[in-house]
Subunit: 301 residues, 2 copies
């Protein structure tokens, strides 16, 4: 089996292992070599690129999100998509880190101290922070990532609720996103993007989040962009922490605003969709992907 | 029993409750009223102030640290000191928040994004972060705070070690601080300051912390100040997160540098000794102190 791998991916991980397949190094997805491969390691490809890959039967995404592909078109071509769930725990770690930084005002205090100030610690109007202990936690999307978030918050609180389309795990499910938000103090968004989740954290819901916090590690567009700005601006939402965004920098660029609105002026903690960039995660994800390809290659022999 | 309470403390908490003692409101510790009281709620008093409090038998510190008093002198005067342990869990929460922010580069990424940059996410030299999962955790000082830190890191790793003078808890103890540092990737300092702990995290030890992280929620001076700067400057210590410091702003001021050395230019996350300033913690600590005073007052009737 010929497997296309771009140079950007961790080729060393693949060459270090015994593999049951042949690696075809692709300079990029526009390369003519793409017409020879039966499988590919890729996170994002255009329909034009897929069309050129006439022998392609299996795409291995080295992370969870499938939104780098036109799934209908992929299905029409009869191509299978495989994802790696292994970095779910790092996404959950990012979620907890964002929550602790947002409620704990870590970014605020750290900036103060880098400039020689102390958050008014000697004064009556000192800046205080909020704890996660005994808070009611809501998890929107109770898949691998949601389950890991649950594990990480358990030492802080046993009041954990989940809203999910299917109900196959042992957790307190609620019947609607609205109920989840009403009930809980901190809402973690850990659901993938789909027609039904897009914009589902609506302006109406966020305007009812007075003294409540919203953390997003799912996909940016699960949250209504205008509603987020409005709820932050009017302090109906107490704070927002996110690793996923509405806008991303174009290829080859490091600059862009994450939203069309200036949300950075409010109580927000922002990271650049880097949950998957932990030092260990990259290698682990490629090893997991490699394992999956090997299993498929063995079957096909 | 007459109990002196300064206006700065949460008097409302006391007046809201049934108390078995008389509250004497002190404008400050230099007030002449201090000669009448048998007990006091205070975190810091000079020997001169103590000397004037001729009837004082019990000091109730509404937090853990006793270092606001000259303990030898207090003992000589025959005064008992009571502390509140109740905010230990918030100190532990601060410790985990600092660790996740430091290893997870939350403050770095957040600053980048507030300025429209993305941590080079589109490039091969993207800034990656380090995870706490499966790390070896060392806890220096395994009292109430240390035990809580242990609980909070358990979902991330079961490799937790402790160094403590006494060994009365169920944890893997090591024989020396040096062994703890050799063995572990992240060292949490949660020990009080004393003659034996002062400067005990020495330059020699920190210079051996290549790729290791140090978090301090004990007291600033447990760490050798010159050694910290040297180990950060030479990258022998990978990063430092702290809520406790070498210098504090003078009363009535919000400004001072936390160290005589410019440590803020290195990989550090800094908060202004605010572990006790969580919104719930203040009230909880005073309620706990109140409870302790009440118990004593009942006994004395």
């Amino acid at each position: 089996m010929k497997v296309g791998v771009t140079k950007g991916t961790l080729l060393d991980v693949f060459y270090d292992q015994d593999t049951h397949f042949e690696i075809v190094e692709l300079p990029d997805y526009d390369s003519d070599l793409i017409s020879e491969i039966e499988a590919i390691v890729a996170g994002r490809m255009s329909n034009e690129q897929l069309e050129k890959a006439s022998k392609l039967k299996d795409i291995f995404i080295p992370f969870t999100g499938k939104n780098g592909f036109d799934l209908e078109y992929v299905e029409k071509l009869g191509i299978n998509i495989h994802v790696s769930q292994i970095h779910s725990r790092y996404v959950a770690e990012r979620a907890l880190a964002l929550a602790l930084a947002l409620l704990g005002k870590i970014t605020f205090y750290d900036k103060e101290m880098h400039e020689g100030r102390w958050g008014k610690r000697n004064f009556g109007d000192r800046v205080s922070w909020d704890s996660i202990f005994d808070k009611k936690i809501g998890i929107y999307g109770y898949g691998e990532i949601g389950k890991f978030i649950h594990k990480l918050v358990l030492p802080f609180t046993d009041k954990v609720y989940a809203y999910n389309r299917s109900r196959k795990e042992e957790v307190n499910y609620v019947d609607s996103l609205s109920e989840l938000i009403n009930k809980c103090d901190i809402i973690f968004v850990a659901t993938p993007i789909s027609e039904s989740t897009k914009g589902s954290v609506s302006k109406e819901l966020m305007m009812k989040m007075k003294n409540k916090y919203l953390i997003n590690v799912g996909r940016g567009a699960v949250i209504d962009e205008d509603g987020l700005y409005e709820s932050l601006k009017t302090s109906n939402l107490a704070g927002f922490g996110s690793d996923v965004w509405f806008n991303y920098p174009k290829k080859g660029s490091n600059e862009s605003t994450p939203s069309k609105h200036p949300i950075e002026q409010f109580n927000v903690v922002m990271t650049p969709h880097c949950a998957g960039f932990s030092m260990n995660a990259a290698e682990e994800r490629y090893l997991d992907t490699l394992y999956q390809i090997n299993e498929l290659a063995k079957k096909k022999r």
